[in-house]
């Protein structure tokens, strides 16, 4: 099962907010859908959910027109979406039956999910009486109560402490293992890295980067090395490295623990090693640079911003 958004354009009044967004995700995989605030993530998700109509473009599931009403979709909105003054179990049964389940099925499933997320003791409580983290878990339980085929999670980790985050991580991993399509939108890049095989970065309504996360990382790490030396802080090491490696590499970035070097055209790693061995630097760490998703995101979105300001 492959879900695809193709060339989606959307305007509100005179203002165009999505300029041809395309993305694709298949079942058993998770797509990290990333972007800064106001980049167009939620609008894209709402178009996918048929909350908004796109001005042009198409949404396909296995090559056929995607009709959200015909599929079980679990949507966890960024700003929550339950009634604060109503009881947890009542709301879950309501949402389950509204999405096609029978009352008894919905109740059983709600009980199962509340137990799985360790909030079953709050079933008869009003949502507003729960802590933020527990409300978030109830929200996730209500997203999954009807066993959706497609799960869209918008900032699911916000408000969760590390223990609860781990429970949620396990659940998301289970969903992926069960072969569901998972679209995961978050600013917390470490979580995206953990779950997502593919990423799509959107900025100002345009997709600026998408593809297999491993390949993207490899691409971003190509011609880049890391270097750390004993007893030399990265700031000082930066000056020393520029002198030692002049003509072979330049310092691309100074990190807290190490430097990121970018190779000049031509030379290989062996020549750099020889130059370092000949210097007085006590090399502590030397190897291929694998950027974090955060680095890629900042680099990509920053790059776009600076391109526009030029």
């Amino acid at each position: 099962m492959v879900l695809e958004l193709k060339d989606i354009y959307k305007s509100f009044g005179e203002k165009e907010v999505l300029h041809g967004v395309s993305l694709s995700v298949e079942n058993g995989k998770a797509l990290g859908f990333l972007g800064r605030n106001g980049a167009g993530k939620t609008t894209t998700i709402r178009i996918l959910m048929d909350v908004f109509r796109a001005n042009s473009g198409e949404i396909l599931l296995d090559g056929k027109k995607f009709v959200p009403g015909k599929h079980r979709i679990g949507y966890l909105p960024e700003e929550r979406g339950l009634y604060p003054k109503r009881k947890v179990m009542d709301q879950m049964i309501f949402l389950g039956t509204l999405r096609g389940m029978k009352g008894r099925e919905a109740k059983e499933s709600a009980e199962r999910w509340l137990k799985r997320l360790e909030v079953d003791m709050y079933a008869d409580k009003k949502l507003e009486t729960l802590s933020k983290g527990n409300q978030q878990k109830v929200q996730l339980a209500s997203t999954l109560v009807h066993d959706p085929e497609i799960v869209i999670l918008d900032e699911p980790f916000s408000g969760l402490d590390p223990v609860n985050a781990q429970i949620l991580k396990d659940v998301v991993n289970e969903l992926i293992a069960q072969g569901k399509i998972v679209i995961f939108s978050s600013h917390q890049m470490n979580y995206v890295e953990e779950f997502c095989d593919y990423i799509t970065i959107i900025d100002k309504g345009r997709v600026t980067l998408d593809g297999d996360l491993k390949e993207i990382k490899r691409e971003y790490g190509r011609n880049r090395l890391i270097l750390a030396a004993d007893d030399v802080p990265p700031a000082e090491l930066c000056q020393r490295a520029q002198q030692v490696l002049e003509g072979l590499a330049r310092v691309f970035e100074v990190k807290k623990e190490f430097l990121v070097l970018e190779l000049s055209e031509g030379p290989d790693r062996r020549k750099i090693l020889e130059r370092l061995a000949g210097s007085d630097l006590q090399v502590e760490m030397f190897g291929r640079y694998e950027p974090s998703l955060n680095d890629i995101f900042v680099a990509k979105v920053g790059e776009e911003s600076s391109d526009e300001s030029k």
Partner: protein
Amino acid sequence: MRKFGIVLKYELKEYLANKGFMAVTIILTVVGILIMFLPRVFDMSDFTGVQVVEKDTSGDTDTVDDGEKDLYLYYDEKGIVDEALLTQMMPGADWQKTESREELVSLVGREGLSESGAGESSALESDGRTPQAGYVITSETSYEYYVYNKSMSDNNTYMFDEVMRQLYRNEYSKERGWDIDEIQAMYQVPITVEEKVLNKNNSENFWYCYILIIAIYIIIVLYGQMIAVSVTNEKSNRAMEVLVTSTHPNSLLFGKVIAGAVGGLLQSGLILGGFLISYKANRDVWGGQLDMFFNVPGDVLIAFALFGIGGYLFYAFLYGAMGALVSKTEDVSKSSSGLMVIILVVYFFALSQLSDIEGPIVKVLSFLPISSYSTMFARIAMGSVALWEVVVSFVILVVSILAVGALGAKIYRMGTLRYGNTVKRKTVLKELRKQK
């Protein structure tokens, strides 16, 4: 349809689980029933005209307990008053004469009274009762009236005027040798009237129509506002975002509005039903005094229910749509102000035109969906209306409800995900035109 049923059931359950809603319903219903039983417990003969009597177990005749009578004083220096006539004309009063004006004023003014009532030093046999008022008769045609605190409903002077007039007539006739009984009989010759109202008796129908129009107005405004606030709440807590992705907005709005209608019908039905049924059970002890309010004929009640529910649904859909145009509950009144103006204008027009129920204004209003909910049933209750007129008006109302429901659902769908400022009416119209 199934999803509509789910929303309806869920929303209705919320109404019934709402402690405030249930408390108001139960309290008002019980209070209504208790009020209707009051004349069985308390003597309300002044109002109902039905004397509360106690069976005298020692004899065969019914007697009024003198101890329950109010005490009145009078000072009659010239011996004008006939106490027998006083007792006859004011049977609810127990009369006692004082020796002087000063004594009367002092007793009525409660000077030197013990806590239990009459002055300990007074020669009067007052059984511990406090005098309600006192009369000082100064001449055949004048007297002074003394009362400690004059109540809103004090009509003692009116009754005493009648006593004085009768005394004067008696004396006048006696001086001239006329037979007062003959004159009285001539003046009060009984006239037999056989009234046959061939259609509607508006002297009876006016007040219950008035009350029912006020009732339906309150229901529309109260529940309409509740629906608007509930929609805005869903929008502000983002529940809407999950709901509109789970089902069609028509199911959501129709379910919510109809749940409100059922809730309102249940609440007002219980309260009104409590009044009507308990009044029917106690009509004899009320002496039919409240017929004008509560003796509503069945056909008028059915018309009230049908047109009332129709009018409620018509406005409730619009209220739902108005609620979707704002993001904060405090802005609901701003967005629904236009609707409120229409409802108020219709309300005042309907009430002001009740006295001219056959007039052209009421006829026109009784066909318009914005006003037929009150004017058509008023016409049924008070005027002459053909069956075809009722049917046409009801069909117009039903079609308008469906149209407004569909329009409301579109506005609701459009407004629900527009956060921030109130969505302007111009924008709404523009968007609706686009959707066509």
